[in-house]
């Protein structure tokens, strides 16, 4: 395990110990350039939690989490089960270690499975999600692409991938996306550079706000649209710090949104 992995590096950002020396070395390198990244990472987890809670409130009870990573505190199924214990969750990751670990952790949890697939192959992912994860594509599904599409280059045609996944679902389905932006803080852009060095677990491609918005194609954006991570429906966060300023600077380096198929 000499090569860092995105999932384990992310786990380290979140204070986990599911990581190895190479992961920590890489993570520290990033944090040296951009110390706020841990906070952004938590914002990202918070967005995911709010999004899942929002989707549960809309009656969605099936989640397809693409690029799920290493399970850590506040996983999708934990958030969903806190309001709907029968919600079904399919975790998808291409990192075999992350998937193996997820399976171990989920061994006793019905209605939640982890499958090892590459999200760049939608047909295969959906096929496995239906066959192994009991996902029911005749009913609305929430597809989560949280902090994952910026690991795909333009040649992977991320917008088309989103469209392919959503085309396989029925109206009423949603997609939640969070994505690092290239037109935000300069320090954040330095992160991209670190990720694009040779020892990187995975190259990154930050995108402009316009490009991130374009990922939703012709889906209907749920209010308030594509916004800075912490600004997406803060009312859904019971954890909101009454003392903290909920707003952030205009150059906040990550955006998020939820789109609905009508």
């Amino acid at each position: 395990m000499t090569r860092p992995s995105v999932a384990r590096v992310y786990d380290y950002y979140l204070g986990g110990s599911h990581n190895f020396d190479s992961d920590r070395a890489f993570a520290r390198e990033v944090l040296r350039v951009y110390p706020e990244l841990t906070a952004i990472t938590r914002d990202n987890r918070d967005f995911m939690r709010r999004a899942v809670l929002h989707l549960c409130s809309r009656g969605i009870d099936q989640f397809l989490d693409l690029g799920s990573g290493i399970p850590t505190a506040g996983n999708v199924h934990e958030v969903a089960h806190s309001v709907n214990p029968r919600a079904r969750v399919v975790y998808v990751d291409h990192d075999p270690v992350a998937v193996t670990h997820s399976r171990e952790l989920l061994a006793d949890t019905d209605s939640v499975v982890a499958i090892s697939d590459d999200l760049r192959e939608p047909r295969r992912v959906l096929q496995d999600a239906v066959a192994v994860g009991d996902l029911d594509l005749t009913r609305p599904v929430a597809v989560l692409m949280v902090s994952v599409l910026h690991f795909l280059g333009d040649k992977d045609r991320p917008a088309e991938l989103v469209d392919e996944y959503m085309s396989a679902t029925v109206p009423g389905s949603h997609v939640a996306i969070s994505h690092a932006r290239s037109d935000g803080k300069r320090d954040a852009a330095a992160t991209e550079e670190v990720y694009n060095r040779s020892r990187s677990p995975n190259p990154m491609q930050f995108r402009t706000a316009d490009k991130i918005r374009a990922l939703f194609g012709d889906l209907t954006l749920v209010d308030p649209g594509v916004v800075h991570l912490p600004r997406w429906r803060p009312e859904f966060d019971p954890d909101a710090d009454p003392d903290a300023d909920p707003d952030v600077g205009e150059d906040y380096p990550a955006l998020a949104g939820v789109g609905r198929r009508d």
């Binding site: 986990g16 939690r49 075999p96 670990h101 903290a244």
Partner: protein, 731 residues
């Protein structure tokens, strides 16, 4: 205790939990909401307050609080730091603080936190390591399975497979490839792929291989020849695929080699067969036209495209007399020589079929050039060919056409048609020679062709009309007979003389039915005249082509026609030209004798134009000679010595004819002077414009009864035909 608490200013559990919550809420990532966190810390705050105020210090409670923080995922160092800070501030007024109780509580909490964090870290490390190990085992199992599958495919494939690195070193080969090329695996490994260059490899092949090795392209496929170790050549379908490393750099090349030697040979053979003549091995007309089309399209103006169309003379006779095997052997020999002689100069020699060959000169510098090529071809053909021990000598006729010649159309087909026609001119001009294309002559030929094509229809529609020219007895200038002469009255109103169409009819064979029609018309007409005037006893003289004589059934036809028309045989004369007589076979002579036996008179037409053996005349069933026109016109003007010689000849012929009992008719008498000379020499009868041209049948009775030549010695100019295509129009 209650008053103490109040007195010492200790916070309530709720106050403590509130401050604590604010301190650590954002330090770590947890799944807890703020409310849940507050509730959680409220319990812990109670435990801590108990520990601080208890009479006897027990470290268990604070240690559990530290452990509970880790359990709630407050794993960041800041969470502990702030916890210790906020607890220190909140609890500094506790009763035993001065006695070290607070320090003891915080120490126990810190120890419990550290112990729990260590346990958690170790547990997570163990889990992730186990997962990593399991994942690796699974991956290795998958790889092993995949390798085992590949190994089976590699080893047992019927397709040759080899793996090399990008330097061209061969690393691994399978059984099939070893068998295919005859090398052992060790021998393969000792040779870089460059050793397997084949001379037939196009430069593009190795360029593509280089592009593959440098990663420009990922795979390439082509058909390629290899030499086996034993030197034999095989053809393969080769697919090369590039294998890249994880960074995308070229790493290996996999070659899959399928032996397609048999298929290749079959295709090559089929392609060759499709383009070559099986008998001679020369390119066939398909290939020839391909090349011709290409040459015409390319067409640089300075170099013209030329063709020499060659046809062996009398090849049919070789086949007929020596057999087809000999004919084939001769064709092969001629083809081989032509190919060798002319192919050397880069010309394409093709067999067009039968005994026809064509030489394509793609870069002709002019007619001279083509003439040299044609001459070489003629010389080559003329060299004796020994077949079955017998030398055979043949010649050829060649038609030369250059593409830029005026009058040739641009297309290959037109060019070849012109060449074909030109070749026939060489034949007509005497064979064993070449002829050059001539646009005007070609035009005439084309018109002739159009005429001969129309002729059968014309015959069916009665466009051929017969006219009659009086035969006059010189002694008393009485009409004793008529010669039937055919005209072609075209629907356009144009009138064609026999010389314009009879040779065509002879070529096409239409002369046979046409001759029968003329003969029938003439006899029927003669019978009509006699029916109208029983006193009129005219000899009907009709021309006969040798082709008619050769046709079986002529005698029967004549018998039938005489019977049908009621015309007596003795009053029918059939004319054959002298040259045709000379070409007659024994069979033909027998036919003439049969006709003579019927009582029909036989006349030799155009006598004096050939080289008749006069003595031979005795043996022929002949009754009359007709002296050729040029003899009369030349030999009777009486102006120079040549005339005198001609006169002597005429005198001798007349004498000889009379000795042999033949009558002599002079044709083309145009002047009274000619008439008086011929009469003096003893000619029996004459015909010509001095008396009358050929006239429609209804004019004959008038001419017979009141001959205009007796009252008007000079022919009137307006009665001459305006077109004098022949001085002695036949038929």
């Amino acid at each position: 205790m209650e008053p103490q608490v109040v007195l010492t200013g200790l916070p309530t559990p709720d106050q403590l939990a509130g401050a604590w919550t604010r301190a650590i809420a954002r330090t770590s990532h947890t799944a807890m909401s703020r409310r849940a966190l507050h509730a959680h810390l409220l319990v812990l705050a109670g435990t801590l307050l108990d520990a601080v105020t208890a009479e006897k210090f027990d470290p268990t409670g604070p240690a559990e609080v530290g452990s509970a923080l880790v359990a709630a995922h407050f794993t960041e160092v800041a969470a502990l730091q702030r916890t210790v800070t906020v607890l220190g501030e909140q609890l500094e007024n506790c009763p035993g603080a001065g006695g070290g109780r607070l320090t003891a509580v915080l120490a126990a909490l810190t120890a419990g936190y550290a112990q729990a964090l260590r346990d958690r870290t170790l547990a997570e490390q163990e889990r992730i390591s186990a997962s990593a190990f399991a994942a690796r085992v699974a991956a290795e199992q998958a790889r092993w399975n995949s390798e085992a599958r590949f190994a089976a495919v590699f080893a047992d494939s019927v397709i040759g497979i080899g793996v090399g690195d990008i330097d061209g070193t061969i690393l691994e080969v399978n059984r099939a490839l070893c068998d295919m090329l005859g090398y052992t695996a060790e021998e393969f490994r000792a040779n870089p792929i460059w050793e397997f260059i084949h001379p037939d490899d196009t430069p593009g092949v190795w360029d593509q291989v280089r592009s593959l090795l440098t990663g420009v392209i990922d795979n390439v496929r082509f058909e390629k020849a290899y030499y086996r170790k034993d030197g034999a050549e095989i053809w393969t379908h080769l697919v090369l695929s590039l294998v890249r490393d994880q960074q995308g750099r070229p790493r290996f090349v996999v070659a899959m080699v399928e032996n397609i030697t048999e298929r290749h040979h079959l295709q090559t053979r089929l392609a060759h067969q499709a383009m070559h003549d099986p008998l001679t091995g020369l390119p066939n007309r398909t290939l020839f036209f391909d090349r011709l089309d290409t040459a015409l399209e390319a067409g640089p103006p300075e170099d013209a495209v030329g063709v020499c169309y060659l046809d062996l003379d009398d090849f049919k006779a070789v086949n007929d007399t020596l057999g087809h095997d000999t004919g084939d052997a001769l064709l092969r020999a001629v083809a081989q020589r032509l190919g060798a002689e002319l192919g050397r100069d880069g010309h394409l020699v093709a067999r067009m079929g039968g005994d026809e060959f064509v030489v394509l000169v793609e870069h002709s510098t002019g007619i001279d050039h083509l003439q040299r090529v044609a001459q070489t071809a003629l010389d080559t053909v003329r060299r004796p060919v020994v077949v079955g021990g017998h030398p055979i000598v043949v010649s050829a006729s060649v038609g030369i056409v250059q593409h830029t010649d005026n009058g040739t159309a641009s297309g290959a087909a037109e060019l070849m048609q012109a060449a074909d026609t030109t070749m026939y001119w060489a034949k007509a001009d005497g064979r064993d020679r070449y002829a050059l294309f001539d646009a005007e002559r070609h035009h005439i030929d084309v018109s002739r062709f159009a005429l001969s094509a129309r002729m059968p229809d014309a015959l069916a529609h009665g466009e051929f009309v017969v006219e009659y020219q009086p035969l006059v007895r010189l002694k008393d200038q009485q009409t004793t007979g008529v010669e039937a002469l055919v005209r072609w009255q075209l629907p356009t109103g144009e009138r064609l003389e026999p010389t314009q169409f009879i040779p065509l009819a002879e070529d096409t064979g239409l002369i046979v039915p046409l001759g029968r029609t003329i003969l029938t018309d003439a006899c029927r007409q003669a019978a009509r005249w006699r029916a109208a005037d029983p006193g009129m006893r005219l000899l009907m003289s009709v021309n006969l082509a040798v082709r008619q004589v050769r046709e079986p059934g002529l005698v029967a036809d004549v018998v039938q026609i005489l019977a049908d028309t009621g015309w007596p045989a003795e009053l029918l004369q059939l004319e054959l030209t002298e040259s045709e007589f000379m070409g007659t076979t024994e069979n033909s002579l027998a036919v003439l004798r049969d006709l003579a036996d019927l009582g029909v008179r036989i006349a030799i037409d155009d006598f004096g134009t050939g080289y008749s053996n006069l003595a031979y005349l005795r043996r022929l069933p002949v009754h009359a000679l007709k002296l050729a026109g040029p003899f009369i016109t030349r030999g009777s003007s009486g102006h120079d010595e040549t005339d005198d010689v001609d006169m002597e000849i005429v005198a001798t012929v007349v004498r000889l004819a009379h000795i042999l009992g033949l009558t002599v008719t002079a044709e083309s008498i145009e002047t009274p002077a000619q008439l008086s000379r011929l009469r003096r020499l003893g000619c029996d009868t004459g015909q010509g414009w001095l008396f009358a041209p050929a006239v429609p049948p209804h004019d004959i009775p008038g001419l017979v009864h009141t001959p205009p030549w007796n009252s008007h010695p000079q022919p009137t100019p307006d009665r001459r035909p305006t077109t004098r295509s022949s001085p002695a129009p036949r038929r």
